[in-house]
């Protein structure tokens, strides 16, 4: 009995060491998938609980996509109904960024050095949050969780080709959202004025 207990403690310790470093990734995906912060916390916690239970089936080498796949299942189980009927509640309330400067200018010579300001980041989050579900998921997994295409295919449980076409669609949608925002908020002359001021 004591031996079993020791083994169980050891298992828990190994799981903790392997899985806890990805809590921010798990929470981030939860946040973009379920939107409500409290629900996202519950989803993240449930994800770790399930992962611990199935840790014996885990065969590596990549812990992050494994956890994110579990998280995704948690979210699908519990939030499928709500997710379809809700509009984004959180990021969308932050409207302050929309009437500000463009996020970036495509024609600039060196976009590499471009960093977003805080309010632009908020606007970007909102645009991601407004993407339809499968496209939002693929963008978050790629751009924020930094998974490879193959890992995304595993997490989203779709073929590689689907990952690629969704990602292309998702980026095209983001691009038009950005362009629309720029067009409305900042005609070139206004932008120039702001930049020079």
């Amino acid at each position: 009995m004591a031996k079993d207990e020791a083994a169980e403690h050891e298992r828990m310790r190994r799981f903790r060491d392997a899985a806890l470093p990805y809590l921010d990734d798990v929470f981030t995906l939860a946040r973009y998938l379920v939107r409500d912060p409290t629900d996202a916390e519950d989803a993240a916690q449930e994800c770790y609980l399930r992962a611990l239970r199935h840790f014996d089936n885990y065969r590596g080498p990549a812990m992050k996509p494994w956890l994110l796949a579990i998280l995704r299942n948690v979210c699908n189980d519990e939030f499928a109904r709500r997710r379809n009927q809700e509009v984004p509640t959180d990021y969308s309330q932050d409207e302050s960024a929309t009437d500000e400067m463009p996020l970036w200018q495509e024609a600039q010579a060196s976009p590499e050095g471009l960093m977003l300001r805080e309010q632009d980041t908020a606007a970007m989050r909102r645009m991601i949050a407004e993407l339809p579900e499968p496209f939002r998921e693929v963008i978050v997994l790629r751009e924020i969780n930094d998974l490879s295409y193959r890992e995304i295919a595993e997490v989203a449980d779709v073929p590689l080709g689907t990952v690629m076409s969704r990602l292309a669609r998702a980026r095209a949608m983001l691009r038009s959202a950005w362009n629309a925002m720029e067009g409305v908020a900042a005609a070139p002359s206004i932008t120039d004025a702001k930049l020079s001021s």
Binding site: D25, E46, L52, R53, H54, M115, E143, A153
Partner: protein
């Protein structure tokens, strides 16, 4: 390459997911197409802007401590039973395995398969779940093969340095089991060789590991969720064959592998 293909592939180019050959093709197309060149530039700019943005969340401290507490064994209770009540989550096995089952169902409709795997240690019953999961994973997306060839002399050396056994690779094409290739897989965290065969539309994974001396040699056969698993030990190896192939046909496969592995009967 045309613009339609390029439109998808230029994202893979941006993400560094293309092999050199395809990357060259996309770059050649972009060099000759101003529309695609413009898209490439703007998507690159967008990606750079996003990576510079603080889009990643940080888990709130109270969540972190809640989960840490959940993962810290209490002194006298052994299971994670003392988890704080959750508001509405009812964890179910079904939900976790649902993804696998669905993917497997789809894949199985496309290609039923047989997989032969070699595993170094014997961990008994619990390995069966692992085997099935590995088999099902292999049928999804592009996971089936790391090295795709019907040439056994290509498959075998591919495993050199990747795993501590030299897995036997036997060509049974003439006998109705087509050799598709090999793959490095993981069972219980241990790397294993998976040799992949096909019988009609059915995939067979043959998993192979070194047999541990501590464990008695044994033979077993079982069926889980419609998949058949055969396990045996031979020549210091442990072998598992997993497939949705009918039990009798899988037995036939096992017999042929067994016969081929016998020193006198090696082909």
């Amino acid at each position: 390459m045309n613009c339609v293909e390029s439109e998808i592939l230029l994202h893979a180019l941006i993400d560094g997911e293309l092999d050199a050959g395809h990357a060259r093709e996309v770059e050649a197309h972009v060099a000759s197409c101003s529309g695609c060149a413009e898209k490439l530039a703007s998507f690159r700019a967008m990606r750079n802007a996003m990576s510079g943005a603080a889009l990643k969340e940080t888990a709130p401290p109270h969540l972190r401590s809640r989960i840490e507490q959940m993962l810290t064994p209490p002194t006298q209770v052994s299971a994670p039973a003392a988890v704080p009540a959750r508001r509405f989550f009812r964890p179910t096995r079904r939900s976790f395995f649902g993804g696998f089952a669905l993917g497997a169902g789809l894949s199985a409709a496309v290609a039923a398969g047989l997989v032969l795997t070699i595993i170094p240690n014997n961990r008994g019953q619990e390995i069966a779940d692992d085997l099935l999961s590995a088999h099902l994973r292999s049928l999804q997306g592009s996971h089936l093969l790391d090295v795709a060839t019907s040439d056994q002399h290509t498959v075998k050396p591919w495993f050199n340095g990747r795993i501590d056994v030299a897995p036997p690779v036997i060509d049974l094409t003439a006998e109705g089991f087509t050799l598709l290739g090999g793959r490095l897989d993981y069972l219980g965290g241990e790397p294993v060789a998976a040799i992949v065969y096909q019988r009609r539309k059915h995939v067979i994974n043959l998993f192979i590991v070194r047999h541990s001396a501590a464990k008695p040699a044994g033979t077993s056969s079982e069926s889980i969720q419609g998949y058949n698993i055969r396990h045996w030990s031979q020549n210091g190896l442990e072998l598992w064959a997993v497939s949705d192939l009918a039990g009798g046909e899988l037995d036939e496969f096992v017999q042929k592998i067994t016969a081929a592995l016998r020193p006198a009967g090696a082909s």
